[in-house]
């Protein structure tokens, strides 16, 4: 076993102790004003020397370090073959600068997962403190999973949820502790050859969340995962699997950030969700990667009879995002909703959207997308609504609005509507505009500065999304928007 730099204190599984909330309100505001406020770097904590590049040997090593069963090792190696065989996508954002040979595919930062914040090496703990995760956990979360580089370094679920039979662990532990259920569902919603980046994730996945909610159980406080990249040229490939059994409910929230480096990192997650009969899953993402991260994520849910799946997808950061949360409506009466908000500033290309595939009758879907581009940023909505034969009386509505804040910025809309059922009713509407001069004039005549007025208009514009977020996240999103608007000329 390699030795790492920080101090590892192993303690029992007692309740989380009071932790230092390092950032005062004043410091917090100071950081806010500097722009991207998640730009700090911890010292290298890797517990073995990480290697750049990808090969079958790297995949074997990841699998063996994790002590995985043979089927997973084979699954990974097969996926690697798919990854190698597939061409890069020709559509969407420019990915030509990704250097797969320069990326670290696996970095282990701690020897052992902590159940107590204090058990983490000091500056890793400091990172979580600065992100406010331990504080949020105390206040309003039912469980927290904190992933640092490739693995989940802290994990905790409230005892009462544990007692109700709710499983909430990191994916690696789930494979060890719940092998049957993992094997039954893993890779069934997003097969390893679904697309090039899903293949990559399937080959080198590490970390992510596993959630199982038993029939009829309502988890009424959100479960949260936070993903942090610290190292330069890191590749983070978390893998999340959520199974909501019949009539259950769960709200899962994820956030992410990374320091700013001069060369790029890659985040390529796969998220699979199974929403069984009558169940409801709400999945909220606030993505705020630094602007040197490629964020190429495949998210897909299968919704069965009368189930409800909701994706709330906020994309504020990253260099390039390509992410289209999908819902396959497989059971009669299933409902799906995607709420997407995308921001692109200087040097950013956010290609987001949503997909709904109606396979069963009387299914409905709603996609609402709001995007804001500024300082030469490019936002895109890319969507698919598909009605398969037999999905009679399917209904879908798509609404996309884009705001372009200056003349260097750009917005694109690529909606696909494919209908094979006479009784299906589908609609799509989109608008693209700038901040209205009369709105700005009105607010400024009431004494607001131009940036403040612009921020207020933009916050109003994305309000249909923010009102669906947990309050803390809505506040955070509004604050981010205000920050991005500073110095903007409408």
């Amino acid at each position: 076993m390699a030795v790492f730099g920080g101090t590892l204190r192993v303690s029992g599984n007692g309740p989380p102790r009071e932790t230092n909330v390092a950032v005062s309100q004043e410091e917090h505001l100071k950081e806010l004003s500097k722009g991207y406020r998640f730009d700090w770097k911890d010292a290298d904590h890797s517990v073995f020397t990480p290697k750049r590049g990808l090969s079958a040997a790297v995949v074997e090593e990841i699998s063996s370090l994790k002590g995985e069963p043979d089927w997973m090792r084979k699954f990974r190696l097969k996926a690697l073959k798919h990854f190698e065989a597939r061409p890069m996508p020709w559509w969407g954002a420019d990915l030509s600068d990704i250097d797969f040979e320069n990326i670290y595919y696996f970095i282990r930062s701690t020897e052992k997962q902590a159940k107590n914040w204090e058990d983490l090496p000091e500056d890793i703990r400091g990172t979580w403190d600065k992100l406010g995760i331990p504080e949020a956990e105390k206040k309003y979360l039912g469980g927290v999973s904190a992933q640092y580089e490739s693995e989940v370094v802290y994990h905790k679920i409230k005892d009462e949820l544990d007692q109700m039979g709710v499983l909430f662990t990191d994916m690696d532990s789930a494979l060890r502790d719940h092998p049957d259920i993992v094997k039954e569902y893993f890779g069934t919603i997003i097969p390893p050859n679904d697309n090039k980046f899903a293949s990559l994730n399937s080959a080198v996945w590490s970390g992510g969340s596993f959630i199982y909610v038993p029939p009829g159980v309502h988890v009424d406080i959100p479960l949260q995962a936070y993903f942090r990249i610290n190292a330069e040229n890191m590749g983070q490939f978390e893998r999340t699997l959520i199974i909501a059994d019949e009539g259950s409910y769960v709200h899962y929230v994820e956030g992410c950030s990374a320091p700013i480096y001069t060369s790029d990192s890659l985040h390529s997650a796969v998220v699979e969700i199974i929403v069984k009969k009558g169940a409801r899953v709400r999945y909220t993402t606030i993505q705020n990667w630094s602007t040197n991260v490629y964020n190429l994520v495949t998210k897909r849910a299968a919704a069965y009879e009368d189930a409800v799946m909701e994706w709330i997808d906020g994309n504020i950061g990253s260099k390039v995002t390509m992410k289209y949360p999908s819902i396959y409506l497989l059971g009669k009466g299933a409902r799906g909703e995607v709420l997407s908000v995308a921001y692109a500033g200087k040097g950013m290309h956010t290609d987001a959207g949503g997909k709904a595939v109606h396979v069963a009758p009387y299914t409905t879907s709603i996609i609402t997308s709001k995007s804001v581009s500024k300082d030469g940023g490019r936002t895109g909505y890319r969507g698919l609504i598909r009605v398969e034969p037999g999905a009679h009386h399917a209904k879908s509505n798509v609404r996309c609005d884009a705001l372009i804040l200056d003349e260097d910025s750009r917005s694109d809309t690529y909606p696909y509507i494919e209908v094979e059922e006479e009784t299906a009713a589908l609609g799509h509407e989109a608008t693209v505009s700038k901040v209205g001069d009369d709105q700005l004039f009105y607010l400024m005549s009431r004494g607001l500065s131009e940036p403040a007025a612009t921020a207020m208009i933009v916050n109003g514009f994305i309000e249909p999304i923010t009102r669906e977020l947990p309050m803390e996240y809505a506040v955070e999103l509004n604050r981010l928007i205000e920050l991005q608007m500073e110095g903007s000329v409408g």
Binding site: D412, V419, H428
Partner: protein, 436 residues
């Protein structure tokens, strides 16, 4: 039905069998043939051809089919096929590969209006034809436009000099009755500054076992001109129709186009407007009705290059039987095109549970001070509307018929030419009455 000539396929030998033309046209043909031989049949792997599969298209068509003499017009019932023809300032008839008749109202020629066979215009007015032919739709665009560039014969050239207003519409009827033939209708319209004209292209054929039409329309609309262009595609069963229409507007030009599609087994129609100078306006209307196993692939582009332009597109279509219709449109606002106002709407009504409709209305916006929107819908006849009409004592089939008419009314109301409106209404009526 006229038998097609024996020559099949498109090669140098077939090209040399065509009657010779001007040096310019000969050079263009030669180059286009090379492009045709070099280019692949567009693959469904590409976004442009995603919904239309031509990989199995057998290109063994006759490259040239004679038109016969003017006498044969009556024998061939061609005039009857032209349908209701209102008052015209000019009428040209092309049968198969040849123009067989051209008429232009007296007086227009004296005003400098040129209307007639494109090949003859290339000889008589090279200064007008050469800078414009294939300037908007280059032969190298696809394998099919290259084929068109190489083997086109006949076609229409219309020139309206600056400040001349042509009150009545001009029309070309392209009539195809040579089974197994390929035809290449080409309409080249050049309109001078401040001029005004209306032009109608009509494509008609009986049902054939197989035929190919690769058409190109190029419209150069000068500054402050007012141009209306209507295309009516009524090919019979068996025809594969691949059409590209592209217009470029000048400063303060007002361009209104209508694309009507009822015919052909497979019809792909691309309509594009480039708003190249400030102040231009482009209206693009589309009406289609697919039945049986027809496959329609409609594509549009509103390309805003210059600032202060406005474009408005409305396509409405109905589907019956096992038909398939795709609408994919693009609004592209280039970085300099500030103050753009662009709208794009595609509405589809599905009347059969075996029909399939797709709509992909895309926006690419690179300027910020713009107003752009799009809307697309696909749906059945609404039950509430049927119920309402039934509750007023109207039979179900009649109620559905009325609702479909109501659906099309929005676009019909915007077609300013009464006779075109009437003939479209009539065609919708027939489609609704027909089986499948």
């Amino acid at each position: 039905m006229e038998p097609a000539t024996k020559v099949q396929g498109f090669d140098e030998e077939a090209l040399s069998a065509l009657s010779s033309s001007t040096l310019f046209v000969e050079a263009l043909r030669k180059q286009a043939l090379e492009e045709f031989l070099a280019l692949p049949i567009p693959s469904q792997e590409t976004e442009e051809w995603r919904y239309t599969d031509l990989s199995d298209l057998d290109l063994s068509f006759a490259p040239f089919a004679p038109g016969g003499d003017a006498e044969s017009l009556n024998r061939g019932k061609i005039l009857q096929a032209a349908g209701v023809v209102g008052e015209r300032a000019g009428l040209q008839i092309q049968r198969n590969s040849e123009v067989v008749s051209t008429q232009l109202t007296e007086g227009l020629g004296a005003k400098g209006v040129i209307f007639g066979d494109l090949d003859r215009a290339a000889e008589e007015h090279p200064e007008l034809v050469e800078p414009h032919l294939h300037a908007l739709v280059p032969t190298s665009r696809t394998k099919f436009t290259a084929l068109h560039g190489a083997f086109r014969t006949g076609g229409t050239f219309l020139y309206v000099p600056p400040a001349v207003t042509v009150e009545l519409p001009l029309q070309t009827l392209t009539y195809l009755d040579a089974d197994g033939a390929a035809v290449f209708p080409h309409t080249l319209i050049v309109v001078g500054q401040d001029a005004e004209v209306t032009f109608i292209d009509r494509y008609v054929s009986p049902a054939l076992s197989r035929a190919l039409s690769v058409g190109i329309t190029e419209i150069h609309a000068g500054a402050a001109s007012r141009v209306r262009y209507v295309s009516i595609q009524e090919w019979g069963d068996g025809v594969t129709h691949l059409g590209v229409q592209r217009a470029r507007t000048g400063r303060d030009t007002e361009l209104r186009t209508v694309a009507i599609g009822f015919g052909a087994s497979l019809a792909r129609a691309e309509a594009e407007t480039e708003l190249a100078e400030p102040g231009g306006f482009s209206e693009m209307l589309g009406v289609f009705f697919a039945d049986g196993t027809q496959h329609f692939d409609h594509r549009s582009l509103q390309d805003h290059v210059a600032p202060n332009c406005k474009s408005d597109l409305l396509y409405k279509g109905a589907l019956k039987g096992e038909s398939r219709a795709v609408y994919s449109g693009w609004v592209h606002v280039r970085p300099d095109a500030q103050k753009t106002d662009a709208m794009q709407t595609s509405r589809n009504i599905v009347l059969s549970d075996r029909a399939k409709a797709d709509a992909i209305p895309n926006l690419e916006i690179e300027a910020n001070d713009v107003r752009c929107g799009h809307a697309a819908s696909v749906g059945p006849v609404e039950e509430e509307q049927v119920f309402y009409l039934q509750s007023r004592g109207i039979r179900r089939d009649e109620a559905e018929r009325l609702i479909v008419f109501g659906f099309f009314q929005e676009v019909l109301d915007r077609i300013t030419l009464e006779e075109v409106r009437d003939s479209v209404s009539h065609a919708i009526e027939q489609e609704l009455a027909g089986e499948g």
